[in-house]
């Protein structure tokens, strides 16, 4: 062990004493040759022949030097250093080209890094703060005789909640938005219309105030209440600790702020940071097209199913083959205009991370950039 350390020490040291050691070796080898020539002369050879013989016996002159260097130094490292020096020389020789090349590489690497961190955020990173998201699946409707997916209607959702044993819980959400005028500044923010059990099912608990109550799903525009995001609370309401009970006008309706979501919870729309949530009963306020909560034909919401760990349904919901039959028996015959069967998106139930709802624009853009 010490033997190897000693050798390593010598080898490393020789990296810095290359010239000196080469010179020493030259002197040594020249002396060697001289001695050999002299001996040959003493044996009666001519000077030329003496020298020829001496060189012959010595073997390859350069080879001896190379062997010496190899043994005494770190040949790999030395070659690497040589290559580096060479590369730097070449770069310096044509600075314009070098700069261009470096610029291109920088741009390429930067863009790739940006895209991949973006992709990670959009597609692969779990929803922050959502509990057991691997047990959540996205549900979509399909229209008979048509390709593609549709949303669900509110009556569909109620039906599922009541009768479908495939999952323990169902919840729905719909992305929306509004213009917030707070102080002298107006800002368009993303929001979400959700079923009242939304926060409960996701395991997200407001840090101030409360989440929605089941009764707040019921009654047309009867519950103008909202839970706001931590970010919105901090940025637009200056983190006001007395925020609960205050009001905010949204889409012309005065809403009472009943809760503040915890920091880092951005809702469940990939690529969007939801700033406020309102119960489904307020759908009429934020959605065009009138009150849809009583219309089975209006398939306007995205639905999710969730099962609690260890429950029988968590095993069952993996068996996508049984899905359709269960679904069909669950959902009564729909109105004529609407589709008749629903199924899991894709060929199997997908977890929320493999969300079947179409990827938002940035996604396809990022794929484009990747290739």
């Amino acid at each position: 062990m010490t033997d190897q350390l000693r050798r390593l020490f010598h080898r490393v040291r020789s990296l810095f004493r290359r010239a000196e050691q080469d010179r020493d070796l030259d002197v040594e080898m020249s002396a060697h040759l001289e001695l050999a020539v002299e001996e040959n002369l003493r044996r009666g050879l001519s000077r030329a022949e003496a020298r020829r013989q001496a060189l012959l016996r010595f073997g390859g002159w350069q080879q001896a030097k190379e062997n010496h260097r190899e043994v005494r130094g770190l040949p790999l490292l030395e070659t690497l250093l040589q290559d580096l020096r060479f590369a730097l020389r070449m770069l310096r020789r044509s600075p314009a080209f070098s700069l261009l090349a470096i610029f291109c590489l920088t741009l390429g690497i930067g863009a790739n890094a940006a895209v991949f961190s973006w992709m990670e955020g959009l597609l692969f990173r779990p929803y922050p703060l959502v509990a057991h998201q691997e047990r959540l699946v996205a549900l979509t409707g399909t229209a008979r005789g048509e390709s593609g997916h549709t949303g669900l209607s509110w009556p569909d959702f109620l039906e599922l909640q009541r009768n479908c044993k495939l999952f323990d819980t169902f919840f729905v959400s719909k992305i929306t938005g509004t213009t917030l005028s707070i102080g002298d500044r107006a800002q368009v923010v993303t929001g979400s219309i959700v079923s009242a059990n939304y926060f409960e099912v996701l395991g997200v608990h407001p840090i101030l105030g409360r989440a929605f109550e089941p009764s707040e799903d019921v009654g047309r525009s009867a519950h103008p209440v909202t839970v706001i995001s931590y970010q919105l609370w901090k940025e637009r309401f200056q983190g006001d600790p007395q925020i609960i009970g205050k009001t905010q006008r949204m889409d012309g309706v005065i809403h009472t702020i009943i809760g503040v979501a915890p920091e880092g919870f951005y809702g469940t729309f990939v690529g969007w940071a939801t700033k406020f949530w309102v119960p489904a009963s307020m759908e009429d306020t934020f959605e065009a097209g009138g009150y849809k909560l009583e219309d089975r034909g209006e398939r306007w919401i995205e639905a999710y199913g969730g099962s609690s760990p260890g429950s029988p349904s968590s095993k069952r919901n993996r068996k996508s083959l049984r899905w359709r039959s269960v679904w069909k028996t669950t959902i009564p015959q729909p109105t004529a205009a609407a589709a008749s069967s629903c199924g899991p998106c894709g060929k199997r139930l997908s977890t929320m991370r493999e969300l079947c709802s179409p990827p938002s624009e940035p996604c396809s853009w990022s794929w484009f950039l990747c290739f």
């Binding site: 033997d3 000693r6 050798r7 010598h10 080898r11 020493d24 070796l25 002197v27 040594e28 080898m29 002396a31 060697h32 001289e34 001695l35 050999a36 002299e38 001996e39 016996r57 010595f58 073997g59 390859g60 002159w61 080879q63 001896a64 062997n67 010496h68 190899e70 043994v71 005494r72």
Partner: protein, 117 residues
Amino acid sequence: MPASKLDLLQGTLDLMVLQTLAAMGRLHGYGIARRIEQVSGDAVLLNQGTIYASLVRLQQRGWISAEWGTSTNNRKAKFYSITKRGRKQLSEDAAYWQRLSDVMGRVLALSEGSDTK
């Protein structure tokens, strides 16, 4: 000169150098090379230049030491001598080679002679 010379086995040159220095005392590279050639009766194929790689290897291990001196023809030359550690190593290596060559001798004798037993 013999028709074909012996190729040196890996590691044998180092041992020869050590032994030469142990027997002859202080020597320069040429002296060592010549000595080995003479002792082997010119039976060994030795490119004298290869001795320098061997010398630097032995030096790194601390088995020999080197110092500059003046040769018989009044030229600056590097002289090598074996160290205490080198002598210890030499006795170990020599014993190893002795055993190995004994075994080889016995094995080769066996293949020539009777195949019983």
